[in-house]
């Protein structure tokens, strides 16, 4: 291959993941990393999953190791359907659930099935980088709409709508990645009123929804726009990410097309891993496991917020999440989080500067801090180091701090 022209136009449109570059720095054991987006591996139910795997081998080994249907494992789809009914009062028939390789594949299949080149797609600003990457492959026109404490800006959505007749609107309404915000009920209702009667399909991506450690659950868009909402879910955050299992819950007309796309893409998701998770869920208390995760994440989140209160200059603002894995902070407007990153690395702490979460502009003053994988003591040390770096960037005297010892 001597020729770069051989590549498709679409692949050149996909933004590189700056986050993956950052994570290489995280391999230094002296660096405290708030940069990742990983679930806490200490909480993985390894023994229970091992038992589940053994039972699957013993009882259905040959079945689950053979090719099987593209829609996914019947028992697992039933579990997802029953859980929607129990937890969210949603009636999602099993036939409307397609198991995917994590919810990232759900995004790819939706892009494949729905997006023609140039179609308008509303995304959150800041928004989930993985969604931007997945949709980019289908070359849409992105219409970024700002999100803030209450949710997505309704006026900006109205303007985006009149500008572009969007085909899709992508949202993470619970503990959004990267901002940690949760759309209020009022905001959801207002957004639904704007979309009602239009052709825009709303994607409610909810990977973190189970990880609530304060406040109360909000109404799913599926209740507000039942015919035009697609739900994406995942076992990556509530169980383990390494089995790559998620799902799409979609209207029937779309399901047919999604199954065709799934077959053309990789035929099906492993029925072995699906059976294993189904077996685990039938024999263990999933809610109890999720409560345990929420306890740990809630404690670590509070430690991070307390640290920020103690160690950050008062000009730095931040959003207190009700769940999920991230705190979003904002430096004074004239400061760039990228500049802070360079200083912070030297002080032995890293985070993700906001830039990759915006499709417009660069040198943003926002940063994403992950708290799921760091214990409370280390969080305090890391936030203290970060406070020191912020003060350096501001040209202020720094707190006493021995940086790179832990």
């Amino acid at each position: 291959m001597k020729n770069d022209r051989i590549f498709s136009d679409r692949i050149t449109d996909v933004p590189r993941s700056f986050i993956r570059e950052i994570l290489k720095v995280a391999l230094n054991p002296n660096v405290i990393s708030f940069a990742g987006g990983l679930p806490n591996r200490d909480l993985f139910p390894v023994d229970a999953l091992k038992e589940a795997a053994c039972r699957v081998f013993e009882n259905q080994g040959r079945d689950v190791l053979q090719y099987a249907c593209s829609e996914g494992h019947g028992g697992l789809r039933e579990y997802v359907s029953a859980r929607y009914r129990e937890k969210a009062d949603l009636d999602i028939p099993v036939d409307n659930i397609l198991i995917t390789n994590g919810s990232q594949q759900g995004l790819d299949l939706l892009g494949k099935t729905l997006v023609n080149e140039g179609d308008a797609v509303v995304i959150e600003e800041p928004g989930y980088l993985g969604a931007i990457q997945a949709f980019s492959l289908y070359r849409p026109t992105f219409l970024p709409v700002p999100v803030s404490l209450e949710g997505m800006d309704p006026d900006a959505l109205r303007m985006a709508r009149s500008a572009g007749r969007p085909k899709l609107m992508y949202t993470v309404p619970n503990f959004q990645n990267p901002s940690g915000i949760t759309y209020s009920d009022q905001n959801r209702m207002e957004l639904a009123r704007i979309l009602e009667g239009t052709d825009t399909l709303l994607i409610e991506d909810d990977p973190y929804g189970d990880l609530r450690f304060s406040g109360r659950a909000r109404t799913s868009f599926k209740h507000l726009l039942p015919d035009n909402t697609v739900l994406l879910g995942s076992f990556s955050k509530s169980l383990v990410p390494g089995l790559r299992l998620g799902w799409i819950a979609a209207p029937s007309a779309l399901m047919q097309k999604l199954i065709t796309a799934k077959q053309a893409t990789d035929l099906r998701t492993s029925h072995f891993t699906q059976s294993m998770v189904c077996e685990y869920l039938c024999n263990n208390d999933a809610d109890e496991h999720i409560r345990m995760i929420c306890d740990v994440y809630g404690r670590q989140c509070r430690a991070m917020l307390a640290g920020m209160k103690r160690h950050f200059p008062s000009e730095v603002s931040y959003i207190e999440p009700e769940g999920g894995m991230f705190v979003w902070a904002e430096l004074p407007r004239h400061m760039a989080a990228m500049d802070l990153f360079d200083l912070a690395v030297k002080d032995g702490v890293i985070f993700v500067p906001g830039d990759p979460f915006y499709v417009r502009g660069s040198r943003h003053s926002t940063l994403r801090l992950n708290f799921s994988c760091t214990d409370v003591e280390t969080i305090d040390v890391g936030i203290r180091r970060l406070g020191t770096a912020i003060r350096k960037l501001m040209g202020r005297p720094t707190e006493q701090c021995n940086a790179v010892e832990i």
Copy 2:
């Protein structure tokens, strides 16, 4: 969703899988099915895989259940690299191997990374339906080139080249699906001479390569066109299909783009299933297992060919494969395999009519017969029933035969 216009143009281009419709008939226990394309489940090493899974949980449970790198599990990529060296004298560095969800995902990632709308793609005629489906999503112009006993028709390839400057050429040179043919060494060399010095990238898809039960291995295109060949491989046929593991071996410049595409598509393939297979391969004799599969498939293939000699009218021709899972037969030209299918179902036997394997025309006279999942006695009964159906279609007196008992 009240509106069909919401779907992308590309998804409407994907042909439906007639094979999947056929397989519903196969659920009738009185019907002998030669229609599938499944490996024989009785040969799956369930116990050894169970042991491998237990060891993975015990030794690396938390690691392999966490997110991990997109390229795939290091040990598994090393295994694939070492096996290329050992079995095919090919030097494929580990960095040039990307683990995929079966080789079907390899096709999707290649389409994504390389094919712009309207780009010319050479495919075999008849050819693998899954490849036609995967590429269709990226809206190429297909240039079908006939394959026959020796391999792909060089003159037709020359004509296709001058017509379209193909970006890709897709081949299954060993025990092709559906025809079972293997490209001769001479044919491979001639095809390579035609492509030499051009920009066309040759995809050598080799899911069945290990399943040789007669004859000798041929030269990989990678030896003949080292810079312009992409290899696709799979553990689905030599081990089990239900874990969904395959790989792409690609030139370095393409690897970078494929990894970007993989990340946007589903982040990565499960490291748990990859570790499990790697553990299995390190502790078991993979070659011994493959020899056992080849013994069984070879015996069943010979039974099918012997049955065809005994029970088919002499006007029906067929190709004797050196390996793989399929025999390809051809009725006299004026007869349509679809018409035979309707008669054969009534006689209690099914197969796949050739039509879905061609992008041009319909009512072909060819048929695909799978022998991997049926024991030799049942094969004889099924082929006898099929012979009866062929005679009915020809308007000839039929053999004595009690049809639907088994």
